[in-house]
Amino acid sequence: MIPTLRPKFELLSKDLIRKIYEEALVILEKQGIFVENKEALNLLRAAGMRVDESTRRIFLTQSLVEDSLSFTPSVVKLYDRTGEKEFTVGEDEIHFDPGSAAVTILDHKTKQQRKAVTEDVLKFVRLTDCLEHIHFQSTGLISSDVPDVIADSYRLYLGLAYSSKPIVTGTFRIEGFRPMHDMLVAVRGSEKELAQKPLAIFDACPSPPLKWSNLTTQSLIDCARAGIPSELISMGMTGATSPVTIAGTLVQHVAENLCGLVICQLAGKGSPVIFGGSPSSFDLRKGTTPMGAIETMMIDSAYAQIAKHLNLPTHAYMGLSDAKTNDNQAGLETGIGAILAAISGINVISGPGMMDFESCQSLEKLVIDNEICGMAYRLIEGISQRSDPIAADLFEGFSADTQFLSMPHTRKWYRLEHTFPKVLDRDTYDYWTSLGGKSAADRAFEEVKKLMDENPPSLLKKEKMDELAKVMLADARRNGLSSLPEIKNLC
């Protein structure tokens, strides 16, 4: 059998990759980068790096960057809540997770965005849990019925309690790490087991241009020490917080992420790091950050290519849209992004469900996007030679009546060769009309309800649930909240 070709998309020549990487190194060594965290500065100083004390600017040598790269694992393993199912984050494996940290939810009936509350977050977590092509959970919605100060830990709490999938999350405050870490330990059993079988990825964003804030740097350090993978989310906005050219933004992106990677390795040699990002082609007319812009996707695909060149696991915010409602734009931007991310071989693709510049989540969109992700997975499987001969034998003795419907060959391969969406419309016009002439979003709305009715929540075992709730409640009490919102209507 002839091996199957995995379709691949590459935007940069080897020469351009080298040039971008070299310029990033020059910036780190000659211009330096701001690190606003004392502990990180101490680590860097101890590694012999020069620190400008007055500006907290640190100068990183090429050899430290290269040493750090050589310690960073090229593959990260994530495990689900049971610890049995393993996911490879690296090579060309791809995993979709919902776009993270939306502040509003799109209400299908009113077509308006509104603040999400616990009940919405729960629905979102449960829906993600049962969607086949969304491999990871994300703390994708922020609940407005708890105080902002515990917004980070509370979203993780709900994600761990009601879904078995690995989870992409992050801290909003330095003190947020401890309770979040303790929750992960509560689920996994012990600190050691958590480090051996990571359950969550923590996102950490540098502040463009060329700055690592106190909060995000601390997250890198804390995660490295606990064996939790950090996802580096550089996010330049072309022409505003990073150079206007795509290649120029890539130089800054690589410099910022490499600095994060160095800090991770100094805090814990060999700690897992994912080279990610959420850059955007800043709209210089509107002053907005379109995630659905083709140039945004080009930046994403290109930095992922550079990261692969450096042997690192990759992440991007792709497969999302800036549309405000589930319209054509929502589908086309999500579709183009998901497909490009897949053929770029990006390991963690955060986007599904998300709209309006990463600020809004839609359950209906998440259901539709799940099918887009399914298409992406099918695409990267490529075209295989299933049998030998491929088809010549099927035509032996063919006649005018030959058809393939009842051939054993058809029965054998059709489910592997073809996918069958649930929500996307493939009906005849008359049948579609007889069903009420519904839009994809309307059908998705019904599918959400059906999935909720058919799939009981994937609850954590009682003892672990109690332990998890204890950590959450303690964090809430420390922050002046005596109880958590009541959880009802679970089924």
Partner: protein, 233 residues
């Protein structure tokens, strides 16, 4: 060599009207060197500096704003024009001070992005457009403690506090600051204007902010309206 002499000679014979028009043009086109050179020339020629500002540079920034509203100019042009305006004012300032000329300030503003938030591109834009439109702007930067806003507002005797927040987690700081002002009986002394991606008119009303602006240019109008109201009140 010849060119330089020509330019100089041309400069010497330029009428006042031509100079004023040249200042506006320099701001509109974003030519910082020209804007500063003309400011120095105005000083050398002992022109009425209030007139230079009001009839030379201000019309320039107004045209740039109009071009932006019409969709002709994008942010890079608008911001460059604002920076030209600032540079020209910088060149005029020593002379204005020496001559004890009080430039009519549209009002004094303290602006910053709230603690916990390191996003300040939107805030920078608002600050530079406000400043180009005659406001005296004290920019505290990003990740600013709420206490610091009040401290600076008192110290600089500002009219208006502008609070920017890009994150919902820091947006809550806008409410807190208004509560802090209330608690200290400072409401009415400083007006508060809020902005930032997650902020809306509804949010501004909910928390009792005096003003809200969706973008940098509407911020200018909103700030002017607020100050007018304050003076009347």
């Amino acid at each position: 060599m010849f060119d330089e002499i020509n330019v100089k000679e041309k400069g010497e014979i330029m009428s006042k009207e031509e100079l004023l028009a040249g200042m506006a043009k320099a701001v509109i086109e974003g030519n910082k060197e020209e804007a500063v050179a003309l400011a120095k020339e105005a000083i050398a020629e002992k022109m009425d500096l209030n007139e230079v500002i009001e009839k030379g540079y201000v019309p320039g920034i107004q045209v740039a704003g109009k071009l932006w509203e019409e969709g002709e100019y994008f942010l890079p042009e608008l911001v460059t024009s604002a920076e030209c305006m600032k540079a020209a004012m910088g060149a005029l300032r020593p002379e204005l001070e020496k001559a004890h000329i009080d430039v009519k300030s549209a009002g004094k503003i303290v602006i910053g992005t709230i603690e916990g938030d390191i996003h300040d591109i939107g805030k920078n834009l608002v600050a530079s457009i406000l400043s180009a439109n005659g406001f005296d702007v004290v920019d505290l930067g990003a990740d600013v403690k709420l206490e610091k806003f009040i401290e600076k507002a008192e110290e600089e005797k500002v009219d208006l506090i502008c609070l920017s927040a890009l994150l919902t987690t820091t947006m809550i700081g806008q409410r807190k600051l208004i509560e802090m002002l209330k608690a200290r009986n400072f409401l009415g002394r400083f007006a508060v204007m809020v902005g930032g991606a997650p902020v809306s008119q509804k949010w501004a009303d909910d928390i009792g902010a005096d003003g809200y602006a969706e973008n940098a240019l509407t911020a200018v109008q909103a700030a002017k309206n607020l100050l007018k109201k304050m003076k009347k009140g």
